[in-house]
């Protein structure tokens, strides 16, 4: 399996969900409930292909260990000193304190992204890996595969292609997206079971006063899910920014479809419109960024691709803004020239009288470009491009001020929230920031960091006042996306990307658990929950794992949940940023990030405690509550395992693999696979009751039911309401699982470590992990400090942040924050030491602000929506009065003219003529009739006279010659 097949494998992984979309689109009627299986099969195959690609990648480019203490201390020489070294550790000398050398971003230890050119394998797609063999690679080796699948068109200098850009980040995103999507498809098969039969939607009241009855829309849901998966995977694979934009819009429209899945509900359809329109506002900025890039750089492609088949690769965007040799960020020549047009005009006019003036002007311009660049020409264009692209990300990732659509997007079914609005689509914005990172100047990074911080605090604060469980999670998503942007903005590329991946897992886990809770209690309202731990233990425990993961819980410096690693990395980078700059405002990022972490923990545990702990607040809802059916619980468990361990290193993976295997084995032992179809149960969504009035109260004595009324589609084994539908997990079994996990996992770890010892070039101590994989994708040139031109600050490189002097305080701060948040939440909602009502009264104005979501919706309504309505009323008036009036008048005039003309032309002329001729014919006939008297004597007379007349006539013309011989 050679890496040159990667583009085909990943291309197939992208197209499979599209195929599933088409199949379901065309054959929905015949597929019925198998539509879910088709979609799941497609995304599962994509997942297998992605993990296959991951395997190929690892085999070809094994990531180097990311052991923090080892990296940070290598001194930063100004000259290039990189050379392949056989043993990676020889590079790192242990120094107790890492001196934080200030290095201007113009000089940087040379990166190595070696290009190995082989002749293109196929004409259209040249997959050329830029890497050396793994053994002697420097830790900043960046293998990348770029190429084109197909050229859509070439319009002068504008070239639009379908191309790919595969590096470690792509592989990681593919694996994450397909894995989560597969689990969510399985979950949705259970959750959307309601849609297999006609549905009564209590939230829609028709004009006749009745509640809506509509046919079910099960296949449509999976059709949209498949289209979404295709769009997301295509976005990740994209090799040029125009293709990213196409898929950007595609994910936006899929989100519109999915949010507005219950199209008859006014709230859902409004939310879908809001999401799409707000996204479009962001896309306006993105188009501006695209325009700047294309007009100055002339290409959309990220990497270097051979476009004109002459064997040399034309530089892509990344190479243009960060050229060899040291990949520092510079303003490309074309951008400088675009800005210095006055100077260029001067040069040309100076040489206008020379003989070879044109070529001399060109050479003089070329020689003066670097001087202009040093004066700062063209820098603003680069900043504008970055800000423009970031605007798109603001819209897509629900950053301030375009965050208003995400909470309303919870109108969609829970699988949609879990997949689209927590793990993938909103992550697309962060992904694009990460992908486009080399182009962002430090000023743009500052903007990103500030917006991220504001968003983080905004989301976290509103989440405190939300009582709808999905809203809490939505605001949590907004807040965490803000944290990711903060991370990227202070220079923590790997930290932000790692948080993206870990967040995807635990956020989708949290959403699916909330879906499970909603399904049990038939309500989103946390004020009706409480005390559910006993009723739904698996959901409770998995949600607890999710909360701990998002809090970043850990045993400091030893081991932790996945969120610990990513959040720690973010805090380390923020602290490093503070230390590097030393000004108070630069410390704001770190302080606010820590504060945000504390807030996050606090509101997440508020949610958890309110839901699962204490006395039930609504007895009726609590009575009903039961664990979800297996098809919904299994993805929860798998995701929980991932949420715990996705950031761990390879040899630790054995632990969670064993644990997962135990759960799955237990499932088969309980016969889940047999009951999977029949016990799919039903999914709910929205706020109201879903109309199961015979819900589990002794009405199902035996297995056979008639199909009576609505929703009685449970099938033979449907007495699942009377007993908890998840298999009872006994403590004994749990203990056995734990022991098995530890023992077998330990064996695995020992085996792996032994292998590493025998082949030291593979890795030492820590091996393959997310962090290592992401390091392989670090953009060229970002391993150095960067100094802003307009902003007098320096962005430290990420490796320095792993120094102990930074790591220790950051980890301690993180631990303090999550513990503090947890304790506060516990004090309020578990131990009941403090009362939330008192706090609400005490901070009434603040609470009002939070409940009203800081009045953003009202503000936008006032500033944008109402003026829009006024304008549209005016225009509608113009339309009705003037335009319609004009048209109607025109039509009436035409009708009048037609009537008048009809009289003149048709009646008078045409009819008259015809009548005249007819009259003549009539009178002629009448006269001829008079000849026929019927009297024979007259006829004979006519004959005689006629004969005589003929003879007389002839006699005038004929002279007889025979008369005389």
């Amino acid at each position: 399996m050679s890496p040159s097949l990667l583009h085909l494998i990943l291309g197939a992984a992208v197209l499979l969900p599209l195929g599933s979309f088409v199949v379901i689109l065309l054959c929905a009627k015949w597929l019925g409930d198998k539509a879910g299986l088709v979609a799941t099969a497609a995304i599962l195959s994509s997942g297998l292909l992605s993990f296959g690609a991951f395997g190929i990648w690892v085999y070809a480019h094994f990531p180097q260990p990311v052991h923090h203490e080892k990296h940070a201390e290598h001194p930063r020489p100004l000259a290039s000193d990189h050379h392949p070294s056989p043993a990676p550790e020889g590079k790192h000398s242990r120094v107790a304190d890492a001196p934080l050398n200030f290095v201007s971003f113009a000089q940087e230890p040379a990166e190595k992204s070696k290009t190995a050119d082989h002749p293109p394998a196929a004409a259209a797609a040249s997959a050329e890996p830029e890497s050396a063999a793994p053994g002697n690679a420097h830790h900043t080796e960046r293998p990348v595969y770029t190429g084109e699948y197909y050229t859509l068109g070439q319009f002068g200098p504008l070239r639009i292609t379908i191309s790919y850009y595969i590096d470690a980040l792509t592989i990681a995103m593919f694996c994450m997206v397909t894995l989560i999507a597969t689990l969510i498809h399985v979950y949705a098969i259970g959750y959307m079971h309601d849609e297999l039969s006609p549905v009564t939607d209590k939230e829609v009241v028709l004009s006749s006063g009745e509640v809506l009855h509509r046919p079910g829309r099960y296949p449509r849901f999976f059709q949209y899910l498949s289209l979404f998966c295709f769009s997301m995977l295509g976005l990740v694979l994209s090799g040029n920014i125009a293709m990213v934009f196409v898929f950007w819009e595609l994910v936006g429209i899929c989100s519109y479809f999915l949010i507005g899945f219950y199209i008859e509900r006014q709230s859902a359809s409004n939310a879908a419109n809001k999401a799409f329109i707000v996204n479009r506002v962001g896309d306006f900025g993105m188009i501006i960024g695209l325009l700047v890039i294309w007009s100055t750089l002339g290409t959309f492609a990220f990497g270097d691709v051979d476009t004109d088949r002459d064997g040399t690769k034309e530089p892509g965007i990344f190479s243009l803004v960060r050229p060899e040799p040291n990949h520092a960020l510079i303003v490309p020549d074309e951008m400088v020239k675009a800005d210095a047009y006055e100077e260029i005009a001067g040069v040309y006019s100076d040489h206008s009288t020379d003989a070879d003036g044109l070529s001399r002007s060109q050479s003089e311009v070329a020689s003066r470009v670097s001087g202009w660049r040093a004066k700062g020409y063209g820098y603003w264009l680069l900043v504008l491009a970055g800000v423009g692209i970031f605007c798109g990300c603001v819209g897509k990732s629900a950053q301030f001020p375009l965050h208003v659509w995400l909470p309303d997007a919870m109108e969609g079914p829970t699988p949609v929230s879990a997949l689209v609005h927590s793990a993938t689509m909103v992550a697309a914005g962060v992904y694009l920031v990460g992908r486009f990172f080399p182009v962002f100047t430090p000023e743009v990074l500052l903007v990103i960091a500030v917006i991220g911080t504001i968003t983080m605090l905004l989301g976290a604060s509103i989440a405190f006042a939300a009582y709808d469980i999905k809203r809490v999670l939505a605001y949590s998503t907004v807040s965490q996306l803000g944290l990711m942007m903060l991370a990227l903005g202070v220079g923590g590329w790997a930290a932000g990307m790692m948080h993206l991946i870990t967040h995807a897992f635990f956020k989708s886990l949290l959403f699916m658990c909330s879906g499970s809770v909603i399904h049990a209690v038939h309500s989103n309202d946390m004020r009706k929950m409480g005390g559910l731990f006993g009723k739904m233990p698996v959901t409770a425990i998995t949600m607890l794992i999710g909360c701990l993961a998002i809090a970043g819980a850990s045993v400091p410096f030893v081991i932790g949940f996945s969120g610990y690693y990513s959040k720690d990395a973010i805090l380390e980078q923020a602290l490093s940023f503070w230390q590097q700059n030393g000004t108070p405002w630069s410390g704001l990022f770190f302080v606010l990030a820590v504060f945000g972490a504390a807030l996050t923990t606090c509101y997440m545990f508020r949610m958890w405690f309110m839901t699962f702990v204490g006395q039930p607040r609504d007895e009726h809802a609590n009575e009903h509550a039961h664990e979800s059916p297996p098809v919904m619980v299994l993805p929860l468990v798998v995701l929980a395992v991932m949420a715990v361990s996705v950031a761990w290193s390879y040899q630790l993976a054995g632990y969670f693999a064993i644990a997962a295997a135990c759960f799955v084995g237990r499932a088969f032992q309980q016969g889940w696979q047999r009951g999977l179809r029949a016990r799919r149960g039903h999914g709910h969504d929205g706020h109201g009751d879903h109309g199961h009035d015979d819900h589990g109260h002794g009405a199902h004595g035996s297995g056979d039911h008639g199909h009576s009324g609505h929703g009685q589609d449970h099938g033979p084994a449907a007495h699942s309401h009377d007993e908890p539908t998840a298999p009872p997990i006994s403590w004994r079994w749990l203990a056995m699982t734990l022991v098995l996990t530890l023992v077998l996992g330990g064996v695995w770890q020992w085996l792996v470590l032994r292998e590493y010892k025998r082949q030291p070039q593979l890795a030492v101590r820590e091996g393959l992990s997310i962090a290592g994989l992401l390091e392989q994708a670090r953009p060229a040139g970002t391993a150095a400090d960067a100094a802003g031109v307009w902003v007098k600050a320096t962005w430290p490189n990420e490796h320095d942040s792993h120094a102990l002097s930074i790591r220790v305080p950051a980890t301690l701060a993180a631990t303090a924050s999550w513990l503090g948040g947890f304790l506060i939440a516990a004090a309020f909602f578990w131990w009941g030491l403090l009362s939330p009502d008192d706090v609400r009264r005490q901070f009434a104005p603040l609470h009002t602000a939070l409940v009203n979501k800081w009045w953003f919706d009202e503000l936008y309504d006032f500033v944008f929506v109402r003026p829009m309505f006024v304008v549209s009323r005016v225009i509608a008036g113009i339309d009705k009065r003037w335009i319609d009036g004009f048209l109607d008048g025109l039509a009436a005039g035409t009708a009048r003219f037609a009537r008048w003309w009809e009289f003149i032309a048709d009646q008078s002329l045409v009819d008259g003529l015809v009548n005249l001729i007819a009259g003549w014919t009539w009178s002629l006939g009448l006269s001829l009739r008079a000849i026929q008297t019927g009297r024979i004597r007259q006829y004979v007379m006519f004959i005689v006279i006629g004969a005589i007349a003929i003879f007389v006539l002839i006699s005038f013309f004929w002279s007889p010659t025979l008369a005389r011989p």
Binding site: Q932, G934, R935, I936, R937, V940, V944, L962, A963, P965
Partner: protein, 111 residues
């Protein structure tokens, strides 16, 4: 030139034939009796016969046509007889329908 005193030429015969023809034509045109009309037809045909004979006689050409003129006249006479038979049949039928042979009563072809 007095036609009565001139030596006999073909014109005299033609004149005689013409007189017969015209008499027959007038008879056809003016008689109310159907039989009278038939007589008129006979006269006409006989007038034509005279013409034929005249043109086949020695008065028109030096080398006469022998008896060609007379033969044609014979044919015509036969035809006249056949036609008279038919015409009498028509008249008989007419009498059966109208109980009269007044041709003025035969105006059913009036348009």
């Amino acid at each position: 030139m007095n036609p009565f005193t001139e030596p006999i030429t073909v014109s005299h015969y033609l004149a005689a034939g013409a007189v017969l023809f015209v008499a027959g034509a007038i008879c056809m045109a003016t008689k109310r009796n159907a039989l009278g009309v038939l007589m008129g037809i006979e006269l006409v045909l006989n007038g034509a016969n005279l013409n034929f004979v005249a043109f086949g006689s020695k008065f028109l050409r030096a080398d006469t046509l022998g008896l060609d003129g007379e033969l044609i006249a014979l044919f015509v006479i036969v035809l006249a007889a056949a036609e008279a038979a038919v015409a009498l049949a028509i008249a008989l039928n007419f009498y059966n329908n109208h109980t009269t042979i007044d041709v003025d009563q035969a105006d059913e072809l009036k348009g």
